[in-house]
Symmetry: C2
Subunit: 185 residues, 2 copies
């Protein structure tokens, strides 16, 4: 069964992190909605221009199996400041549905909205101090219940495949990793 | 000194490979021109929409320190079929300037235009048979003179950092790898 995934993007989103997550989840068979906070055409952190499938406001009433947040600054701040995304994330967490966040997003978005209290999480080394006493400063990807976090562009492929495992199981992750010339660690 | 880099894209380009190369080379300080074969808005292999900085025809008279080709199908075929890109690549090679290609691009673009004759190269496992007797089926990244090739999305970050090393030296590659939570292998 196709899984519904939301990947929000904004000006200043880290383009590698966003595109790796979108691409890998689509390879796995998910229906991935790329939704912009602000204009649909986004200028990412290193100037790559991405066009979202829709604006976030147009899908704020939908239910997603996974909401996955790319990092990058000020992209993560724009995600943090969207009241629609804040509400989607609060609903997602209280229903126990999956949330993923990488790089700046665990600290800047999830911790800011109180979604990491007493949870093990990781993030970009520059933001790990904002993750509190339960921060994991070593693991490239950390899973705690319904929340999956990761460190940065260099861990984005492992993060994306861990999201695939959470949605579809490890066999599916292995199947798509091979043709990407990667291995599931 | 800023280096001039051309990254051509087209409908069906592998979006992870394109974006990783663009992002990493910009982190290193290069002036990266993303140029489309065809319309400036491109729909990549897994549906990510990218907007090029310009059309390839607008920069066909420029000289680049590096031309780096992403893979993806049918993206690599569109790159192969551009007469302007074929001429840029021939000039690039005869002047001994750098050419990079990953995934389908070494076979579909470089070998097609006769640029891999008697050269060690690699590419996506599905295309390695098209690389002839000098194919390297093991190394994630292969350097032979001015031509640098790589296998796929899972090797794209190592490939991009090898391009940085070729343009700026290994110290620069190490400097930018750290904040990406990666290491130069």
């Amino acid at each position: 069964m196709s899984k519904n995934v939301l990947v929000p993007i904004a000006d200043g989103t880290e383009e590698m992190e966003a595109v790796i997550v979108i691409d890998v989840l689509r390879r796995a068979g998910a229906r991935v909605i790329v939704a912009s906070v602000g204009d649909r055409q986004v200028t990412a952190s290193r100037g790559v221009r991405l066009v979202a499938d829709t604006e976030l406001s147009a899908v704020a009433g939908e239910t997603f199996d996974l909401i996955a947040l790319p990092g990058g600054m000020p992209g993560a701040e724009h995600l943090r400041d969207s009241p629609e995304l804040a509400r989607l994330l609060a609903d997602q967490d209280s229903a126990g549905r999956l949330i993923g966040a990488i790089c700046a997003a665990p600290a800047v978005v999830l911790a800011h909205h109180g979604l990491l209290a007493n949870r093990r999480a990781t993030g970009h080394p520059a933001f790990q101090d904002c993750l509190g006493e339960t921060a994991d400063r070593v693991a490239p990807v950390v899973v705690d219940g319904n929340i999956i976090t990761s460190q940065g562009p260099g861990t984005a492929l492992a993060f994306a495949l861990r999201l695939v495992t959470a949605l579809y199981g490890e066999d599916r992750a292995r199947e798509i990793a091979g043709p990407m010339v990667w291995s599931v660690g």
